[in-house]
Amino acid sequence: MLDGRGAVRRRAGVRLWLSALWLGLLVGAALLAPWIAPKDPLAQDLFLGRLPPFWMAGHEPGYHLGTDSLGRDVLSRILHGARIALVVAVVAGSVTCLLGAALGLMAGYLRGWVDVVISRFIDIWMAFPPVLFSILLIAVIGPGLGSIILAIVIIDWTRFARVVRAEAMAQGAMDYVASARVAGRGRIGIMLREILPNVMPTIVVLLTLEMGIAVIVEAILSFVNLSISTDDPTWGGMIAEGRTSVHQAWWVLVFPLVTLFLTVLSFSQLGEGLKDRFDPVLR
């Protein structure tokens, strides 16, 4: 009450709505890409290579954001790229979250040998360098959407497990947990009904951050050519290709980069906004 939370909340509200709006647009684009994309994202036309976006001299009607060096429509490729980005964000984010949060919750509340086993496992796991690890993994199991998601889950579950463990430990020491025990609630009940709701705001923030990270990881892997087959348009792949022609056609690099940036930012802002919204103590 005394720290002027009201003003902060209003600002948080604006950020929440802006980021939700952007992500909503993106989901729409991903779902409707085949119908709303003005061109075929894979259609090459070498006569129409490196067309500038619509407001610059020399643009062609129908190619709103220009074309790349092979004459493929940038806007259509971004819209199609949203599909892969969002699938990776949602699937990899949720699976990572479920796995990490469940292990963290058990370690943090049950303590004892469960904690020892899970914590040591996390320590050992985190000692592997993540980028090398994921490259290695994909080299072994082969590229593809599934491999990317698996790589993200395998690398990032520790992030959830560590934070949720610490939080569950702190919540476990609170008297409302003792109070639930006195009332006769069992251990699983306490974890799910008492501790989980109190750890939820943290999990929501982590989850949305993780979705942003997943988008970035996918882009990085595309950038180093380890992602989906090179035919499918991905933002990372577009950035990689745009890099080579940045002096002649900056738009091939900049538009997917801005899209990527806004998406990752929106995910993190969405998390912060949702955390406040779902916290009865702050509401």
Binding site: Y176, G186, G189, N198, P280
Partner: protein, 266 residues
Amino acid sequence: MSDLYEVSGLRLSLADMTRKPLLGAAPRLEILKGLDFTIPKGTVLGIVGGSGSGKSTLGRALVRLLTPSAGSIRFDGADITRLDEAALRPLRRRFQMIFQDPMSSLNPRHRVGTLIAEPLRLHGLDGIPARVARALDHVGLPAGFIGRYPHELSGGQRQRVGIARAIALEPDFILADEIVSGLDVSSQAQVLNLLEQLVRDLGLTLAFISHDLSVIRRLCTRVMVLHQGVIVEDRVTADLFAGPQAAYTRELLDAIPLPDPDQVWL
């Protein structure tokens, strides 16, 4: 009058994490050093002592949130000293606890109605809405409070919810751990009056932990003074206040600032 609790040779030690060596287990710190006492049915036992006296640890051992390292606790004839969580569950309904800090002992994510109803549901009781309403009524809170969150209530109201939650199960015994020490004097008086009335109306047996002898005197039939894990005095309230025998009890009494201007007290 029979005894609800029979405690003998109770010892309890906890791992002292502040002195844990880099390798190996933390040393054990003995908090309770062999306590013997009984709590007869229908009485109010005051447990008093300073911080580090072990009074809260003793309380938590009585409701078996902690497991004693030696000795025994018998509840209504049954040995509960080392029962595991599953074996304790059916008994839990019969001994309840009210916590010092109602803010941290009421899960901030649950509404008052859920907080009171959950324990009832766990013990498979029927007519839950009626029981919740009755409990709220007992503690003098309006029925409309079931939809509120703990943070929307005042300190005194939260503590009433804590009491309602404990009495809704119709237990034989309630442990109240410093339940008025965080409250303003006026709410403190209200909560104590309420407790006094509930003990009378519901025939409860109560153990009341406090550092405040003034409050103890008002409520308790008997007073047990703990000092560094040992019982230094255990007597009927009026006798204790008439002539405290242990030096520590006298020191405690002497340290209470009475609301009278008195230049020589300090």
